[in-house]
């Protein structure tokens, strides 16, 4: 095919100014140096001893760093130069949907009209926030095909556990004691962990040779003690569960509920909806699908949407539009209660709504189409280098296998991933899902250009040649990054979780 521009878009793997070490902020500290400035208040300056009984006071001074503002800025700016990020380059980390985070959405959240509002202020004074939440809930319900939603959960895992508690409340309201939740062997680790915290036992079912749920195996474990099933669709190998209607019917027939793990929702926006597939409970990862930045590991937001028959159990209080057109907090009739200290990660919610409004219904559909296009293009482009674990069309991500490299050159998936970082791209997800040997899971996302995808493919082709000709180069990669491979075993064996432990 014609490439309409040079392949390109590689980040430098080395930090901006070489690969020297950075001292910790405590190592930079000089007693008596300071950066802080405080407002002049004219309040009588009583001492702590005058204000608080001595029995409550710490006799010692707790040491923090003592640095100038200039050193503070230099330190954290240098740390930022030792960090890969979406804003630097492609981040094809499978299952994580590391798409470009529009700056506009951040600017919306930075508005003091949203971010300087106290969460306990009366509803009459926060009508804008309540309306924003109601509008977002409505749009998330349309995207998922559900009836109502809670915005409280802070992340996907929090959404999962919330969903399982909703499942429990639904069954218990019917006097129905159920014990098990079914999970495919390809599921994210948060699923089984959440099931345990939800008070259920996990029943794992195998995937079939297509990488999909084995319907017969599922039917064998279904019974009246099954509370429900948790599925990701497309699943964690990036494939659409084509028999989802049959799966839903089988689970519903025994009185179970279907939980949709929204980790891969980006693949189906505006194309097909969980509600239409038969799901009863859906969580979304706004920090994946709706492009809110991941913040180096958080914050996220994990709203949970449900079918109408589960709405009465949703966490509360919920922002609600009243008959007179005003907004107030309303507790659902049989609410499971709060799952967050306040109303959820509100600033993340605002960013997601801005993203949805910019795209609209048509734009969200294009997002899914282009995400799936990019993943399939990359899968096909790499077919002679890294074959797909399942040779069929994928959705928004593709799972490739490096098992031939391991057999022929003793070069593992991890080695390939590490070498890719040296060539200016973030690594794909490795060794997940667990059911694929030497798995490399690429999720290019819809925001990477063809030129970037081609450059990434060329980098992987170069690595394939290196694996055959100079395998140690790949096995020892990366060396041009701020640090080379780290001794993870030593970190666990000689645990140093703080500066104070380091000095003991």
């Amino acid at each position: 095919m014609t490439m309409r521009a040079q392949p390109g878009g590689r980040a430098s793997s080395a930090p901006l100014l070489g690969n020297g070490t950075e001292p910790t902020i405590f190592e930079m500290s000089v007693a008596g140096r300071s950066a802080y400035q405080l407002r002049t208040t004219h309040i009588p300056a009583k001492t702590l001893e005058e204000l608080v009984p001595s029995a409550h006071l710490n006799p010692d001074v707790v040491p923090l760093a003592e640095v100038s503002e200039r050193d503070l800025v230099a330190h954290f700016t240098r740390l930022s130069h030792r960090q890969f990020a979406v804003d630097l380059g492609a981040y094809p980390l499978g299952s994580c949907t590391m798409k470009y985070n529009p700056k506009f959405c951040d600017s919306v959240a930075a508005d003091p009209g949203l971010n300087s509002v106290h969460p306990g202020a009366p509803a009459a004074l926060t009508q804008g926030w309540l309306r924003l939440m109601v509008d977002l809930e409505e749009k998330l319900c349309e995207v998922t095909g559900m009836a109502a939603a809670t915005l409280q959960p802070s992340a996907g895992a929090a959404g999962e556990l919330t969903g399982l508690l909703l499942m429990r409340a639904y069954h218990e309201a019917r006097g129905d004691v159920r014990k098990r939740v079914i999970i495919p062997d390809s599921a994210h680790g948060t699923n089984p962990a959440s099931v345990t915290l939800g008070g259920y036992e996990v029943t794992t079912i195998p995937s079939d040779e297509r990488g999909l749920v084995d319907l017969d195996a599922l039917k064998k474990v279904l019974g009246p003690d099954v509370a429900g099933i948790m599925l990701t669709n497309p699943n964690t190998v990036g494939l659409f569960e084509e028999e989802i209607t049959e799966i839903a019917a089988a689970v519903h027939e025994v009185g179970g509920l279907l939980y949709y793990d929204g980790a891969n929702l980006n693949a189906i926006l505006g194309v097909v909806r969980p509600g239409d597939m038969g799901f009863d409970i859906v969580h979304m990862n706004l920090h994946k699908t709706f492009a809110t930045p991941h913040g180096g590991g958080g914050p996220g937001a994990g709203p949970v949407a449900v079918a109408a028959r589960l709405a009465e159990y949703l966490p509360g209080p919920k922002a609600t539009k009243l008959a007179d057109g005003t907004y107030d907090w309303v507790q659902p009739e049989n609410s499971i209660g709060r799952v967050h200290g306040w109303h959820g990660n509100a600033m993340v919610l605002a960013r997601a709504l801005a993203y949805i409004d910019v795209h609209g219904g048509d734009g969200l559909t294009r997002v899914a189409q282009h995400a799936v296009l990019n993943a399939n293009w990359l899968r096909h482009r790499l077919r002679h280098v890294l074959p797909a674990a399942y040779d069929r069309p994928c959705m928004h991500e593709c799972v490739l296998t490096a098992s031939a490299f391991k057999q022929q050159h003793s070069v593992k998936a991890l080695d390939l991933a590490k070498r890719l970082m040296e060539k200016g791209f973030h690594a794909p997800t490795v060794y997940f899902p667990l059911i694929v040997d030497e798995a490399l899971m690429f999720e290019p996302t819809e925001t990477e250009s063809l030129q970037t995808l081609e450059a990434m493919a060329q980098a992987l082709e170069e690595i394939a040649v290196e694996a055959a000709e100079t395998p140690d180069l790949v096995r020892n990669a990366p060396t041009a990054t701020p640090v080379s491979r780290v001794d993870e075993a030593r970190a666990a064996r000689q645990l140093i979780p703080t500066e104070d432990a380091a000095q003991r």
């Binding site: 991941h294 200290g341 990366p478």
Partner: protein
Amino acid sequence: MADYLPHTSEEVVDMLDFLGLSTLDDLFAHVPAALRLSQGLDMAPGLSEPDVADIFAEYTSANEATLANLVCFAGAGAYDHEVPAVVKMLGSRSEFVTAYTPYQPEVAQGILQAIFEYQTMISRLSGLPIANASLYDGATALVEAVNMAAGSTGRSKLVISAGVHPHWRETVRTFAQGTGHELVIAPLVNGITDWSAVDASDAAAIVATYPNYLGFLEDLSVPKSLATQNDALFIACGDPVAAGVLKTAGQWGADIYVGEGQPFGTALSFGGPYLGLFACTEAQIRRLPGRLVGETVDTEGRRAFVTTLRAREQDIRREKATSNVCTNQTLMAVTAAIQLSYLGTHGLREVATRCAQGARYAYDQIVALDGVSAVSDQPFFREFAVITSQPADLVLERLVADGFLGGLSANSLAGTKDGSLADPTHTLLISVTEKRTKAEIDSYAAALAKAVK
């Protein structure tokens, strides 16, 4: 048509052609046709950024309770502290903002080292040796703490002070529906916890808080001995601004410290994202929820940082994991490390002292008013509760006219059924931070004098 997609229409055709397909719809041919949306989503078409900014201006203008409009005396877990420009700017660096979880340490030393520094700061402020890389917020951090205690003791009874923030207690109650934990609430008498009223035998945890949500300081040696006598873990929740100035959780003998880290550089943000602080003893480390960063070396012997003790976590232990936490609040933790380094040893102490000075000055003005009386004569730190002759919600409404978010009504947090207060509908919680001036407090007291009539 506004979006962030790079492909030209010619490129889309080329790419489809490369795949042997003719339309974008063909990519979804394996999705059963009966399930597919034939008309797309029932949602307005996309708008340009300036158009969406106009929509958002309607939201922001409908929020009367902004700091620009109202001087804030509300607290109860969310505080109006100064966030200096340098902290905002460093915390907004896109390398921190747009990174993922540091799974590949070679290209994530920035986040990893910042978290290591954060863990050190929280460990010192809590007086406990282990602090994790953050949890969602204070309420959900407490849920993880009680789960840790239940796992450690093999028991399910939780004895919790009614002085713990009502929302936190409610959140613990919600998650107890799955874990089967039994909650026993120790009531408040004269503003502080009456531990003598509860049976703590077979308890997994004793949960106390300092200061409590009414602002009062409690003697934590009482719940500590209760925990010791009953072989339970002692969980101390605490205001992190007061943490280094007041006795630390570790000095009180706590096994676990839990706090809400919003005061360390995060705006009020309508309640989130905030920052769940979590620290514990070494004895509990194998049950630690969430991520932990440790120091190690790279193959060249250079200092390096990496997430460690990973075998606790959900992606490896699955249904046997100690917690399901994956995504946390890393950006808020990094911001907290920046804010605490900006303040330094003396700055944090100064902020805490000024909060206490302001609260005492406000208290002295306010309890002298007709129609206002103290809930208790117990010592307090940076916030306090008063009884108002008029309902607190009405008082707050009147204060808005004078330009004040005058606090929070206890009723709005705990509801009337909470039982820990004699009269929640007439109880007003007032908080003072280092931002409040004498002039603001004087005007507030004058407005309150009118509002309670």
